[in-house]
Amino acid sequence: MLDISPAEWTAILLSLRVAVIATLVATPFGIALAWLLARKDFWGKSVLDAVVHLPLVLPPVVTGYLLLLTFGRRGLVGAFLADHLGIVFAFRWTGAALACGVMSFPLLVRPMRLSIEAIDRRLEQAAETLGAAPFKVFFTVTLPLALPGVLAGMVLGFAKAIGEFGATITFVSNIPGETQTISSAIYSLIQTPDGDAAAGRLVMISVGLAIGALIAAEWFARRATQRLHGN
């Protein structure tokens, strides 16, 4: 039914790689930030919260351009990373992963934050009276109880990352085999005569991935409720 060409496969596999790496790298940061926002009061908290959500409301092309300015070969951070650590983002798949990670970050953090907020803090107190130091409380009580939310956030972030288009194409362009993800491939195909069939196949694949992710996220959310009620 789906007769996928090698070029399309390349785009699909690249999209998967970009989204998986973006999600895995973003997750520890997401958990840390979610915990900070859920549990701590500090100066500048609302600013931090707004900055995290910025990619959700900014035009993606603006986010992409800002990434280019910051992480491009001549950008402040980009030049440093390239000269000292040999990490280059501009026009590489790593740059696509960075763009996807940034764009999906608000979606990734939100369920994590909600699940941490939903945890009964008195359970953490109980753990402390049983001799658990704060970091042990986090790893044996907080994180396990928040796990379904963490997974839901990862799934949503992944779904967003795999479909990201605007920031990615602005930051790392649309190079087949290097930065051409499913979305940019579809964009190229519908501008080419006779590209409709190929575009249609890729569209079906991205719809399938998105629906799968939403179902998975919903399933994790339901698990979360069960877990908190101890059944």
């Binding site: 359970l123 107190q125 109980a126 009276t129 049983l130 001799g131 130091a133």
Partner: protein
Amino acid sequence: MLRVDVEKQLGEFSLQASFSSEGRVTGLFGASGAGKSSLINMIAGLLRPDRGTIVIDGDVVDDTAAGIHVPTYRRRIGYVFQDARLFPHLNVAQNLDYGRRMNRLAADPAQRTRVVDLLDIGALLDRRPGKLSGGERQRVALGRALLSKPRLLLLDEPLGALDEARKLEILPYLVRLRDEANVPMVYVSHDVAELRQLATQIVMLRQGRVTSFGGVKVLT
């Protein structure tokens, strides 16, 4: 031995309490709002006194003048809350072993069996807390606190959330605990009958002040 001499301002409410107890079960008695829970939370280290000292077994855990405040997790206390607070993601056996694991104590199967038998929770070991009745939950919480090998066991109205029948179900276990477990206890309650059965010494609190201290006979 437990020595407490603390002051704490909580909004409008001021708590000023001083007592020392050698008793096996020190009952903290008073109406709700008398400051019992604040006091026991200070002994646990969950609440920090504004001024004063707390000494458990000769070990100073709070001394505001010297800037000492030992965090809860290093006080080696056990705490049984009114609402049990079992970990919902762990089964009963894992809940029981939690304190031992956190304190890096070697497994002590003999003690574990003793506590499990004492509280009759052997049949519950692989259940999740969500599947337990209120009374069962409280028994498991008792076992969990005991198995962390505390030097002092704090109980904050452990029967408060249970109906009369359940209370009568748990009370004998607490008596057995007092007579067999060999851990001094601080028992918070507003129920005279309960304290008469359990306590060996009474600290009576009223509006944040200790009004009397002595044997069970002060409960008149």
